[in-house]
């Protein structure tokens, strides 16, 4: 049984934002992360504010000039099956389809997928780690098979989202509403490294709510893919993955975004890999060079050195597939 909390079904985004500005209040969307956190007592809540009565946050709308506006409450199943996303933003459809299980995708929302808490087994377990106000990262001297190889400092979590790297690769923007109004943030600036905060994973301030994710119109000649490697074939988080968006012109890569999942506390953009492929034809030699560039600077912990060759393999394979 979960601990006691009261329940409020918000009648407006403003009402939800006002209620959620209190520290003992949690926002409820799909609930697939929140209820697990409450059950494991990773989080406490005296009140849940449900967004599920807010139809303005649901569904997929056409954006200006051929882009899309994805309501924060859109389920991952809706994202994975949407015709236009499948056709023009494959990386996002593939990422959404790779999340959890059919049940979790029917329930979990896009906004919730971006705002989910870390899956580190120490954070989720009965350990008072730095992210829970303690003074120790237990992964530093403990079991670190699933931890980060980039961007760690004092905390070595990996960001668990699959849709986040896809949306960073698509240069999406996130619309955030709080008590003082609405702001638009590039998703590439939405996530926070441990060096900047040890207690939160996003730039959201108390009371701020993700309401919408905005996709620009697809670039001409765009190709994209998300590749995720897990310990089992389904129903699991990424050991490592890559979201790649390239735009081709006259047989060469004109623009590229390479964003890694499962290897850093935030979706990890590799500008070194991008520089390696921009201006080149997409072939096996370029794929190998980009993969090598992507893992430069990796600093594995005791148990996760396997992620370095894994990332290289994922990038070689995915870039080669995109070349075809």
């Amino acid at each position: 049984m979960l601990s006691q909390f009261s329940y409020q079904r918000a009648a407006s985004i403003k009402e939800a934002a006002e209620a959620a500005s209190r520290p003992d209040v949690r926002i409820l969307a799909g609930g697939t992360d929140l209820l697990g956190c409450l059950r494991n007592q990773v989080l406490q809540a005296n009140r849940l504010v449900s967004l599920n009565g807010l139809s303005a946050l649901k569904g997929i709308r056409q954006g200006p000039g051929g882009g899309l506006r994805l309501g924060a409450l859109t389920t991952l199943t809706e994202i994975a099956e949407h015709r236009q996303i499948l056709d023009s933003y494959s990386v996002l459809a593939q990422a959404a389809a790779s999340v959890g299980s059919p049940q979790l995708r029917n329930q979990g929302t896009l906004g919730g997928n971006l705002c989910q808490r870390p899956r580190c087994w120490y954070f989720r377990g009965d350990f008072k780690c730095r992210r829970k106000g303690g003074d120790t990262c237990f992964a530093e001297g403990g079991d670190s098979q699933l931890h980060c190889i980039f961007g760690g400092a004092s905390c070595y979590m990996v960001h668990p989202s699959d849709t986040a790297p896809a949306l960073v690769a698509l240069d999406a923007k996130v619309s955030i509403t709080g008590r003082r109004g609405t702001r638009l943030v590039p998703l590439s600036s939405f996530f926070v490294l441990p060096a900047d905060s040890l207690v939160k994973e996003t730039v959201l301030q108390p009371g701020e709510i993700v309401t919408e994710i905005l996709l620009d119109p697809p670039q001409p000649g765009a190709r994209s893919a998300y590749r995720k490697v897990r310990e089992r074939g389904a129903f699991d988080f990424a050991l490592a993955g890559a979201a790649i968006v390239v735009a081709m012109a006259e047989g060469k890569v004109r623009t590229a975004r390479v964003v890694l999942s499962g290897v850093a506390p935030v979706p990890w953009r590799s500008t070194d890999a991008e520089k390696t492929i921009i201006g080149k034809p997409l072939d096996a030699a370029v794929a190998v060079a980009a993969a090598a560039a992507a893992v430069k600077g990796a600093s594995p912990l005791a148990d996760n050195g396997y992620k370095v060759p894994l990332v290289r393999g994922i990038l070689e394979e995915t870039l080669t597939a995109l070349a075809a």
Binding site: Y7, L28, N40, Q103, N106, A234
Partner: protein, 209 residues
């Protein structure tokens, strides 16, 4: 109230479970009208503890149930411990196993990760709701015919997931079948027979069963 469903069942459970099974087998909906003493006492405690009960109406297997719920009660808890619908199984209670799978507005979801208060207004279908009167529905029948279980604990969740799969994809490929039941863990490892049962169920449904 603070014990988990399993903890409480291990303490008081078998007799209650047997009671519910006997009550639920013919007419599950009767359970709400004949709540046993232990459950009624718990409801009173919940009400007294916080004065925080929310009146709700849940539409389950085509029947409306009016009841008061605590906001923290999951749909799983309400189905099993309040309404006596014991077909939906409680295992991990963290969205990691699939035993509690139900249909909510036709989509498979985990009842352990859904607050009952949030299911208000939705059409909820449990494994009991897949019966055709007193006969097994096609997916249930196929699981029996293909021997698609060993201990049986995951079976009702598997059956509900397969029902959701076949409603969306009446003739699934083997890959679609594997994906369709990928959110349901079977510790006995009956997967090969489960996959055959899905194919059998697709045939039975096509044949109008």
């Amino acid at each position: 109230m603070r014990k988990s469903i399993r903890e409480r069942e291990s303490r008081t459970g078998l007799s209650r479970r047997r009671f519910f099974n006997s009550v639920a087998s013919g007419a599950a909906e009767a359970a709400i009208l004949t709540v046993p003493g232990a459950v009624a006492a718990e409801a009173a405690v919940g009400q007294a503890a916080d004065g925080n009960m929310v009146k709700t109406v849940l539409d389950i297997n085509g029947r409306s149930h009016s009841l008061s719920v605590e906001p923290r009660w999951t749909l799983l808890y309400v189905l099993r411990d309040r309404l006596g619908l014991m077909g939906t199984k409680a295992s991990c209670e963290r969205g990691e196993c699939g035993a509690c799978t139900v249909l909510i507005d036709g989509a498979a979801r985990y009842a352990c990760m859904t607050l009952a208060v949030e299911a208000t207004g939705a059409e909820i279908t449990t494994v009991e709701g897949l019966m055709r009167g007193e006969e097994l529905g096609p997916v249930q029948q196929a699981f029996v015919e293909e021997d698609a279980f060993q201990c049986g604990h995951c079976t009702s969740g598997q059956v509900v997931s397969v029902e959701a799969l076949l409603r969306k994809t009446p003739q699934p490929s083997i890959e679609q079948i594997r994906e369709g039941v990928s959110g349901n863990v079977c510790r006995c490892g009956a997967y090969a027979n489960i996959f055959r049962a899905v194919q059998k169920a697709a045939e039975l449904r096509k044949g109008g069963r």
